[in-house]
Symmetry: D2
Subunit: 492 residues, 4 copies
Amino acid sequence: VSDGGPDRLWGGRFRGAVDPEIDRFTASFGFDRRLARCDLVGSLAHARMLYERGVLERTEARRVLEGLAGLLARLEAGELAVDGAYEDVHTWIEMQLVAAIGDAGRRLHTARSRNDQTSVALRLYVRESLEELDRGLLELAGGFCRRAAEHRETFLPGYTHLQRGQPTSLAHHLLAHAWTLLADHRRLVRVWELAGVSPLGAGALAGTPHPIDPERTAALLGFAGAFPNSMAAVADRDYVLEAAFACALLMLHLSRFASEIVLWTSSEFGFALLEDSVAKGSSIMPQKRNPEPAEILRGKTARVVGDLTALMVLLKGLPLTYNSDLQEDKEAVFDALDTATAAVRAGAVLLEGVGFRPERMRAALERGHLTATFLADHLVRRGVPFRDAHAQTGAAVRAADERGVQLWELDAAELRRTCPEAETSVLAELRPEDVVRAHRSLGGPAPERVAEQLESIGAELDAARGWLAGRRAPPVHRAFAAGTLLDERLDV
Amino acid sequence: VSDGGPDRLWGGRFRGAVDPEIDRFTASFGFDRRLARCDLVGSLAHARMLYERGVLERTEARRVLEGLAGLLARLEAGELAVDGAYEDVHTWIEMQLVAAIGDAGRRLHTARSRNDQTSVALRLYVRESLEELDRGLLELAGGFCRRAAEHRETFLPGYTHLQRGQPTSLAHHLLAHAWTLLADHRRLVRVWELAGVSPLGAGALAGTPHPIDPERTAALLGFAGAFPNSMAAVADRDYVLEAAFACALLMLHLSRFASEIVLWTSSEFGFALLEDSVAKGSSIMPQKRNPEPAEILRGKTARVVGDLTALMVLLKGLPLTYNSDLQEDKEAVFDALDTATAAVRAGAVLLEGVGFRPERMRAALERGHLTATFLADHLVRRGVPFRDAHAQTGAAVRAADERGVQLWELDAAELRRTCPEAETSVLAELRPEDVVRAHRSLGGPAPERVAEQLESIGAELDAARGWLAGRRAPPVHRAFAAGTLLDERLDV
Amino acid sequence: VSDGGPDRLWGGRFRGAVDPEIDRFTASFGFDRRLARCDLVGSLAHARMLYERGVLERTEARRVLEGLAGLLARLEAGELAVDGAYEDVHTWIEMQLVAAIGDAGRRLHTARSRNDQTSVALRLYVRESLEELDRGLLELAGGFCRRAAEHRETFLPGYTHLQRGQPTSLAHHLLAHAWTLLADHRRLVRVWELAGVSPLGAGALAGTPHPIDPERTAALLGFAGAFPNSMAAVADRDYVLEAAFACALLMLHLSRFASEIVLWTSSEFGFALLEDSVAKGSSIMPQKRNPEPAEILRGKTARVVGDLTALMVLLKGLPLTYNSDLQEDKEAVFDALDTATAAVRAGAVLLEGVGFRPERMRAALERGHLTATFLADHLVRRGVPFRDAHAQTGAAVRAADERGVQLWELDAAELRRTCPEAETSVLAELRPEDVVRAHRSLGGPAPERVAEQLESIGAELDAARGWLAGRRAPPVHRAFAAGTLLDERLDV
Amino acid sequence: VSDGGPDRLWGGRFRGAVDPEIDRFTASFGFDRRLARCDLVGSLAHARMLYERGVLERTEARRVLEGLAGLLARLEAGELAVDGAYEDVHTWIEMQLVAAIGDAGRRLHTARSRNDQTSVALRLYVRESLEELDRGLLELAGGFCRRAAEHRETFLPGYTHLQRGQPTSLAHHLLAHAWTLLADHRRLVRVWELAGVSPLGAGALAGTPHPIDPERTAALLGFAGAFPNSMAAVADRDYVLEAAFACALLMLHLSRFASEIVLWTSSEFGFALLEDSVAKGSSIMPQKRNPEPAEILRGKTARVVGDLTALMVLLKGLPLTYNSDLQEDKEAVFDALDTATAAVRAGAVLLEGVGFRPERMRAALERGHLTATFLADHLVRRGVPFRDAHAQTGAAVRAADERGVQLWELDAAELRRTCPEAETSVLAELRPEDVVRAHRSLGGPAPERVAEQLESIGAELDAARGWLAGRRAPPVHRAFAAGTLLDERLDV
């Protein structure tokens, strides 16, 4: 049945049935069913507030609360399948409630609309998903730190333009990714906070004449506060776009790491081997060992960028307040969050399965005159303007190339010819590992600086984990779990 | 089991198992199972060609063909569930084949790789989906023509900048959408042709030493020809991006129509009412009648734009030839095609459910001086330069506004004052419906021109339907259906 | 000349000239010249730090500082044209410096690379641009508040699905936009902070062996601190993407307002008229008055979304650290910031030029049964479950429609028939303006609530303006302006 | 002056001036000035048709035509600067015309609107730009063929997943890019055709009462025909989006080639060296030789994807017909066309400057068991099912790895142990260059197949160049050049 009948939350003025094709096209239950738990939690907060404010008569209100709690308990126990031919998850819940407690269930929708209801459920969902994502992200960041700690003295070329630039350490390189992820963590926290504004009580767009208390609802949900303007509240999807953007940026970061794994496991680079647990073979070429997880990590970046783009296209040009277009926000943000969460987890496993090959890295360091800049810097210390030092060193590099030697193998005469102010003792300092050690500036690759980094990012990650550990279920959900939902006084 | 064992198409060099997290992250069976039928058809063509060329020993080849045909028959009969813990659909098929016919099944992969295999299956799939989409599209275009034919003499304001511009007819307006869809049809045909190049025989990237005949495979699949370069063949996803672009542009067109429905069903415009079959109510506001199907049509545009964006991000910067990133192409193009197909169908139903309100349109025509340009054109015919005619008419409009009358209600004196060269008889020609009739230029709104349009687009749509009716299953599939797959000679 | 000669910052190993086509294709001076001032400020900080740390011999360092200060003074006085055939702005500056102070200028590049140099200049630029954008944004937000204050008692329909939903006030509606902009302001502040991390000292990717002090450089630039990892520092463009995202989201918000102006100035809505200062005419239709500024505001949203998309595509898959692809970040973020800044300014002017038409709004309120929900709420207060109240009210709406009256014009008998539990006195409460006043819930449209909103957002905007007023030039720039750049001690 | 005064094409009803901020925000002259020449050509066609149809009195019409021709002559001679404070290029032209020929110039706008005028100019511009782009594209494609012809016997690894897969030839690899570009050429041709529908005569949206002949205008412009529906005509931007899509896809293709150049010029791959003409140095690392042109080629892909995204966002949700949002289409499509044109040119220069290093390619071929698949194929020919052959070969690879030898260096015993059905003579066939020669399947890398490819693509490119050579200026422009514009009869 698809008319505005008993299985619809609307229909007073409707007599005919919705066309089945239209029904399929417009129904959201196929994807918003994911919000079932969050919607129940939001409903608990709403009902509790109505109870406290006497908007619902107290006996009825208690029945509603008990009914909702019963549904939530069954849902969490896996005893309640969220399916069927419903328009959306909100309809499903109200129908379940009426089935469970009868007519009292028809009172739940007092002083709210699907417009504020959907958004509060989605906010709860986004928050939980961000926490889940952050868990994986922090694990991956921790993984980078652990692998870095193993490789403080593993030296390799640092690249710009994919050309060997200057020597660095593997620890330093891996920590670059860890710091980037820490920035992602901060972004997630910020979005989490942004999502923590309750729209419940905004109604369809104009609030309600009932004496509700939106700040109380917000507190019951663990939100920082309630909306300041009911029209803005139901039209706002900033938290959805911010969440998708945070996922997209995170994925872009991972795509850079993934590209490195693809590069490093190529025969040509050979800086790493993948364990069997994180590689795949070819259906036709028996010798192949493909870095598929890294490629797919990079590939999945695309879909999250697509999700964000979709959300931006969606919002463009919509007048206030709620428009059904916004229904399309869910699949995009679900996909962005799912993908990012899967990606950080897979990334962590991938990272563990990377076998670095220090000897190949060292060999690469020996070719390419990566310490030319150090020679230039030496000349600077001897009073040569940097730009001239750059030119002289360039000449020394050319000389070394012509002789087929590395810079430190130049003989003193050749050095003097190309770099007249250089001390010949500098030749002995030009080996890559020594140059890494000499790059002692703050934030640089010298092992002592990397040790500092490990310490400071360790502290940052501890703080981040602390933040995550401090996330708790919404107060109303804790009250449900503790059985105190109907207590006369409920502190949050 | 997730090692490179019996349920993998690879693994010779692999000893350890793939990590389950990585397995989930990289498996494509969850979505590429959709390709099962197409992959079987592609495999039939491949096997038939191997058979004809003697690459497979003939008895074995026949067993392979029979085995594949058996699987296809069961699949089409709904007796073969495409599921299980497989890496991808290709693995699933090979495993099914081996289960069905034993060791001979292990010969199927001769002279091909998953790289060419996937692409041929996806090309078949895209073609079929484009046909399906085109079917809906042509129905919708036909719907616009039908509704237009009903409203040749229904006049309404034509808008630019959402301001009333000049009078037009509803038929003309609806036909604008029909012509736009016809352009979309042509785009689909073009993509269909583009997809009709067979990559089978490109192997992993370098063809094969076996004496295969890629042109024969192409012919068996109903493709126009085979690839010219094996490396380009496995790296190419142009047909995927073209398909997604065609869907995105189509959706953008629909979003414009959808916006109009939203506007026209607003109380303010009131140009249309939605039947109950294509409207929805509000969970809180009992008086509401929301144009949700139109809003969602517009909203779904966003996801298809997102799909295309994702595909572009995916390809960016990938070196030749195949990279696993490309695995991510499928869900994006599936979603684009699914969404567009659902959208044209829903659009057709929506259009049928729109009740136009000619009286409201006519009332709108009466206000806003929409025929001012006609007055200017009259002045031009009287020898006034258009730019001066524009200025004089502007003055006449101002005069009418000040008097609170419409242009045709101006008195002769006022007309003479503002437009000295005008004949007063022009006032009688300024009523909107007369002006529509006077706009007889080619492609214009005059009923006789619209009648021509209806005829010409009718012919175009007939041709389009003819093209679609001419689409047939690939020859190898027809041979399968006809039981001639093993005939010595198989003409295509 | 285009070889790696005297007009290049590189070239030691190069003998041939760069191809002119390639030169044009890769040169960035055409757009990065905008960074000239910021690059000089960054260079001042770098040179001052080198001076303090004795990395440059002090007499030479003073000459460099004086030389840079001279260039900056001339630039700010408009006496120095930033043009010519240079590769990039950094080359231009070094060449200018050498021209001004001779050989000492060739020492400036000591201990830095273009990789950290570009990023610090871009960070300074982004910060300044964000401040400029924020200035316009706060003015626009203030404009919404001012217009809202004028219209506390102007009532109009609140829309969902572009259907009349519930009565609200124009003040409430306008404040919805103001609150949204406040969120945008907060986003800008956050990006401003994110940009405030100095990469100077990261060098090409690996820091330097010179005894530099990156924290000092950061302090001289007014940044919160220096980079923790030199490789992350030069690879990072998060601040660019965040800035573009903030612009895109802001533009999306403006596009919603713009759509409303387009709607409201249509003949059909008629809720507003545009003054001549913010409307445009038609080249052909003399009666037209087009809301072009609003359309273009909406249209320009597209380009900023495009800019963000471009930046995401740019980063995807780039391995560490710097790659020249990143050079393309500038035009995109410049365009995003320029467009958003122009948009908020134009938006503010547009808003001032909107003449609201309260009488048309009131007329719209009278039709459409916008107070049906209030009737339902009344029934709820009388003990009817909301869902039943919804159905009964739907029946009442139908009855009113059939009689061609508004809900409050129903007779008591009809009310009793459809809503048996209603008190007939409720009919007197159903007029839209009374219902607005009754919607007294927090954040709702009742005038007393709107008064609270005006107060609270006023305070928020004051705080925001305070933040903006507190932005000062970087300390090193202030020292330059004060002539204290060469003081022995320079406190920041 | 910015009111609707003498320098505006509108203004009859306007009394106040447009706000200067709004004027800047909405003016398009800054970018649509590029259309000046095309707009003049379109105007010539329009005026000639009016002349032929007698819509303009003939003496006046001749003056208009002469006036326009005079402007065009001066513009093409570089004697007419397209600048000043005009709203748009159309205003500029009309003002110039009036300045040149007086009042008669005020007649030009008869029977057209800026809506059809802009679109026809943009269509002409897009066509010309596509031709220009195609010129560069075909040159680049030709370059790939030339370089391929030099390297028919240069063998290198073919990669999948950036892992060495099977041996191929450099010619084959380069031709993969050539074929891809050929597909891009076909796409450009198609868009060129799509753009060749004239909207002139659609007027603002509803045609005109004047007896115009849109098909004649179309013919004068060299278009295939005129619009079928005036409302669709002015609302349509399909040709703009198609052009941007063609550019985006082309850029994505180039980004793949660019990535390869970056890879191949890395020390690790070392497959190519860049000549000084196409490389750049580092400002700090004297030994560097950066593939900047390739990186920027890849980077510029991003902006074109951004342009296309912007265009899609722009169109979304706009009701018919013309809306000023569409004004924003120009900069996006200009940028897409400019960037793609610069990119193919730079790409052609880059390709010429790539010095391939066959010895490094050959060395890479020797490691990695790239001929394992050939061994498997040998087993298949010996009757082993492919899947078993794959497994046995995998074992042979493992054995070779354990012994530190290449497959062809395995001893016969080891071969027999791992691949019992293999003939030992196969070992002699496993050297990579022999395997390339054996891959003689159609479209494969064997030199004889590559020779065929060179021939067939050569013929295709000749045909493409023929198409391009056949593009001529619009007939009306040729008549202008030939001085026959005012001839009584003008055949096209």
